[in-house]
């Protein structure tokens, strides 16, 4: 271990979910020195998940859902400096450089810079005609476009695109959603569940264009036209792209830290500099449940759990991070929840939860439970997904019949 044996100054870059949680967790672990969160956004840390949900659909103008109130920051002696972008990390001097020239010294540094929306590289796509969603300001800008009767084209059939489509329909806008892959949610969700979600969107009146590329975007008077690979031409009032996110690794790269699909950290979330850690969407880490497979997750709970874990490691802890990946999405009256990594499964066993709710258990070749994915009303699926998550964490090899039979309580399998 290098650096100060007794760290006095902890700096967190990025005032997001992971950064805020880490700062709090440092205090919860008894750290009494300085804790500073540096954020390029003007706001205090806020939750992003509502940006594609309630912030777009609520009747009232949205407020950011702040994670920490000024009182809580004060009470815990955490300094948050908003609107202060970090431009460089000087590892030798143990300093971060801010855009305004100021330098701050750290003993331990946490990089929690998140990810940014991937931009469309298409003829005719400009920052003016294509909108993206990552920040509160972007949500506000989007919201004003979702007017009744307006025709919105959404590019990308991942979580953000689908939540946007549901929000736009809730506001009575017309929606066409264009996805290059032959089905929705191809990256993380099993086909059977994605099909249920596709059907729900079609029932809500969303026009899906799957397996469809885009040739270019053109102006059509005040409106836009999107030329599809099928020859179709979609004329619309607004274009929103949700085509994935890119890890915010620039600072780490320029500081010479190892990068591997995100800032590469070890099981303790330490980078190749023992005084610098990374957490949340910006980093990739080995997961012990999946043979140390390197993962980069873009998930809210992971950002929190990483924040907690990074704080412990910054204080000298040696525990390896092993929380089961967990993700949810809300679209209309449906919630989708996934625990574990579905693509590790070789066999699927389905439990019918009633009311159209369905829970798929994914078993590895050796029968071990590696993931569970469910779709349905939240109240129908949440409890069993949570129990499945615990079973995944315990590396159980469950009896298939008990998984299928709804009269067998999953809680009972935990004890075994």
């Amino acid at each position: 271990m290098t650096g100060a044996a007794q760290p006095e100054s902890m700096i967190v870059i990025g005032a997001g979910e992971a950064g805020a949680r880490a700062a709090m967790a440092l205090r919860e672990s008894g750290f009494a020195g300085r804790v500073t969160i540096l954020g390029d956004e003007a706001h205090r840390p806020y939750e992003r998940p509502p940006l594609s949900k309630a912030a777009l659909t609520d009747a009232a103008e949205p407020q950011a859902a702040f994670i920490l109130t000024p009182d809580r920051l004060d009470e815990h002696g955490i300094t948050h400096l908003g609107g202060r972008a970090v431009t460089a990390i000087d590892r030798a001097a143990h300093e971060v450089h801010l855009a305004d020239g100021e330098r701050l010294r750290y003993d331990r540094l946490l990089i929690a810079t998140g990810a940014r929306a991937r931009k469309l590289a298409l003829p005719g796509a400009t920052p003016e005609n294509v909108l993206y969603l990552r920040t509160f300001e972007e949500a506000r800008a989007l919201r004003s476009r979702l007017a009744p009767g307006a025709h919105i084209a959404i590019i990308g059939g991942g979580f953000i695109g689908l939540e946007l489509a549901a929000a736009a329909r809730a506001r009575d806008a017309d929606v066409t959603l264009i996805e290059l892959a032959p089905r929705l949610l191809a990256r993380a969700v099993p086909a059977a569940i994605a099909a249920i979600i596709a059907a729900r969107h079609e029932a809500a009146g969303v026009r899906l264009r799957l397996g469809t590329g885009i040739e270019r975007i053109e102006a059509e008077g005040e409106r836009h036209a999107i030329l599809l690979s099928t020859g179709e031409r979609i004329v619309c009032d607004g274009i929103i792209a949700g085509i994935g996110a890119v890890a915010e690794t620039g600072l780490a790269e320029r500081a010479g830290l190892a990068i591997d699909n995100g800032i590469a950290v070890d099981g303790r979330l330490a980078t190749n500099d023992p005084d610098i850690f990374a957490a949340g969407d910006c980093c990739s880490f080995p997961h012990p449940l999946y043979g140390d497979r390197r993962l980069r997750l873009e998930a809210w709970r992971n950002a929190q759990d990483h924040g907690n874990a990074a704080a412990k490691s910054m204080l000298g802890g040696s525990d390896a991070y092993q929380a089961v990946p967990w993700f949810w999405s809300d679209q209309y009256d449906l919630t989708l929840q996934i625990a574990g990594l579905a693509d590790e499964g070789r066999e699927t066993v389905t439990r019918d939860l009633g009311d159209g709710a369905r829970l798929d258990f994914h078993l590895a070749g050796d029968g071990r439970l590696v993931a569970a994915s469910a779709v349905g009303p939240n109240g129908r699926i949440a409890r069993d997904v949570r129990l499945a998550e615990m079973l995944i964490g315990k590396r159980v090899t469950p009896d298939r019949a008990s998984l299928v039979d709804v009269s067998v309580k999953l809680k009972g399998l935990l004890a075994g």
Partner: protein, 109 residues
């Protein structure tokens, strides 16, 4: 079990309608409550909605003396209502409970 004297005792359900280490929703007078039976067979009651977003806690999971919200897994100690960490930071209101003749009663002010 909470023994505070309450102004009104409202009959909520049969005591054995709730499994040990489980929770049930109870609606009364436009308000929703959650009633818990602990692993050591005591009964407790709190407000029925999570303090993070307005979600019914009775769809969540009870483990020991913790109720976990079914939406984002916020946790509360249902005996005291105490929020146990992110994303919940506002405590749940609790209500006194008594058993009488095999029934659960909620003490409402």
């Amino acid at each position: 079990m909470n023994t505070t004297t309450a102004a009104r005792w409202i009959e909520a359900c049969e005591a054995d309608a709730i499994d040990e280490e489980d929770v049930m929703r109870f609606d009364h007078d436009g308000h929703t409550y959650a009633i818990y039976r602990s692993p050591d067979d005591e009964y407790f009651a709190t407000d029925g909605l999570c303090t993070h977003e307005q979600i019914h806690l009775a769809d969540g999971l009870v483990m020991d003396h913790i109720i976990e919200c079914p939406k984002h897994n916020g946790r509360f100690d249902y005996r005291t209502g105490q929020a146990k960490g992110a994303p919940v930071c506002v405590n749940l209101k609790t209500y006194p409970v008594k058993l009488d003749g095999g029934k659960v009663f909620l003490g409402l002010a």
